[in-house]
């Protein structure tokens, strides 16, 4: 049972109207593994991670996290969408960090981190606050606990967003282009935090254009194009000896 994947995608398909954004995507993510999704814009990477916590519906296939079917249940041999309540419960186990941070602007950094554990999980505010301060220390923002998002730089906001997601103690963390909206000089501080998370054994699925990060931190890399997986391999294999011509062309275009 130890080898059962934490996240499992099986032939995931999705349409926006007539346009097939995901054309049967399958791969597994093991516990403690860091998987980076790379590929050109519009290849379906962002849509795919949004499907993993059911922010987007899928039209066929299955997504399992920790053995649980996400967003759907089986009913007489067919998949029907789950109740809002059950989907909300599943999402508590899946942390997500967005490209545009999406911090709550009316709450301080500390309150951004504590609000979900207190209001969703009903945990004691004093316990949650102590943990939240530890998390803010982990993302090196102890001195900004009382600041509102508008008073923080992009990199600081994104680190608060990471702490906010971690506060729910998720089984897996999803990152949707976490550094794409940042000023170049604050990209490093966010990547450093993510690197530390990876080293601490967090299971992470990261959509990224930061090839340096993917090469250094990822256990495996998934190359996507036009809604399909082009190839999957270890970071070393993908970056030093990509098997597919499409992947080689993608790297050539980056240089």
């Amino acid at each position: 049972m130890e080898t059962a994947p934490l996240v499992s995608l099986r032939d995931v398909r999705k349409f926006f109207g007539n346009w097939e954004v995901l054309r049967g995507v399958s791969f597994d993510v093991q516990r403690g593994e860091v998987v980076c999704l790379i590929g050109p814009s519009g290849s379906g990477k962002t849509t795919l991670v949004r499907c993993i916590n059911h922010l987007e519906k899928i039209h066929s296939g299955r997504i399992l996290v920790d053995g649980q079917l996400i967003g759907y249940r089986e009913h007489r041999g067919r998949l029907v969408e789950d109740s809002e309540k059950r989907i909300a419960a599943q999402r508590q186990r899946i942390g997500m960090v967005f490209q545009r941070f999406n911090l709550f602007p009316h709450l301080t950094a500390l309150e951004n981190v504590t609000v979900a554990p207190v209001r969703v999980q009903g945990r004691r505010p004093a316990d949650v606050e102590a943990e939240a301060r530890d998390l803010l220390a982990r993302v090196k923002l102890s001195d900004k606990a009382g600041n509102y998002p508008s008073q923080l730089s992009g990199g600081q906001q994104q680190r608060v967003a990471i702490a906010r997601a971690l506060a729910m103690k998720p089984a897996v963390m999803l990152f949707d282009e976490p550094t794409s909206a940042l000023d170049p000089e604050t990209v490093g501080e966010v990547l450093d935090v993510m690197k530390a998370l990876a080293e601490a054994g967090t299971t992470m699925i990261v959509v990224t254009h930061e090839m340096g990060f993917a090469r250094e931190v990822a256990d495996r890399v998934v190359m996507m194009d036009q809604g399909a997986v082009v190839e999957i391999g270890t970071a070393r294999q993908i970056f030093t000896a990509p098997a597919q011509e499409r992947t080689q062309a993608f790297f050539r275009a980056l240089r």
Partner: protein, 258 residues
């Protein structure tokens, strides 16, 4: 021609600074009817706005229909229809209702119903616009954290909407205070009705209605002051880290009121 001017300044000053008890009662009635009707209007208006955002078609239809009806007919017509009309047709005779020490007479019940349902239509539109202006990423974030719709609304979405709602809400409340003067037509002795009654006994029309205008101005100005405080409170997260929050005082208070 100045000889024709007929102003009794002693009467004016007496009624302005030492009004009889019925003026105080009228003023108090105006204030509490406004506050209660506005509070009900905000609550019902929020529900209507949520209907208009529902995923159920019939609820969206109901919300739009509600707003269409209440915004498309005059307040005066609504008031007379709800009180006199409903009673005349025999639907409901408006018996007095006693709640604890308070007695709600028929006209009062009709007034609160009409004012709050009318106000709800305008508040619904204000809430709808405020909710629509909230960044879509906020809805992604609350869902990703596993929040149920009620929790998300209560702790994340509405507090942000409140800040957008406060300025138009202040406007609405100013209109509400002034609008209560219509209640005189169904026999409620609020401020305007009381002044009318005094006028019938004294015929000092100019003096009395200047006094009425002054009282309405006092109420709406106090309201403007409260509004500034609320705006500062809900806007606190927009300020740079070290800025202190100070109310803007009288500047802007004396202008921009409808």
């Amino acid at each position: 021609m100045t000889g024709d001017i007929n102003i009794d300044s002693a009467f004016f000053l007496k009624y302005l600074f030492n009004p009889p008890a019925i003026v105080w009662r009228g003023l108090w009635l105006t204030i509490w009817i406004s506050v209660v009707a506005q509070a009900l209007g905000v609550a019902i208006g929020l529900l209507i706005a949520l209907c208009m955002r529902s995923k159920h078609g019939w609820l969206r239809w109901f919300g739009r229909f509600y707003v269409w009806i209440w915004r498309g007919t005059p307040m005066l017509v609504q008031l007379v229809l709800i009180y006199t009309g409903v009673a005349a047709a025999g639907f409901y005779k408006y018996p007095d209702i006693e709640i604890g020490p308070f007695t709600f007479t028929g006209p009062l019940q009709a007034a609160l119903i009409a004012l709050s349902l009318n106000e709800a239509a305008y508040m619904a539109e204000i809430f709808r616009a405020a909710l629509a202006s909230i960044d879509k990423g906020q809805f992604d974030a609350v869902r990703a954290l596993g929040m149920r719709p009620y929790t998300a609304m209560r702790w994340i979405i509405l507090p942000q909407a409140a800040r957008i709602v406060i300025p138009p809400l202040g406007n609405e409340f100013t209109l509400m205070i002034k609008g209560t003067s219509l209640l005189a037509v169904i026999g409620i002795r609020e401020l305007f009705g009381t002044i009318q009654q005094l006028n019938a006994a004294t015929f000092r029309t100019f003096e009395l209605f200047v006094i009425a205008a002054i009282w309405y101005l006092v109420l709406t100005t106090i309201m403007g002051f409260v509004q500034k405080r609320l705006e500062a409170h809900y806007g606190r997260h927009d300020l740079p880290a070290n800025a202190e929050i100070k109310p803007s005082g009288f500047r802007g208070l004396l202008s921009g009121q409808r």
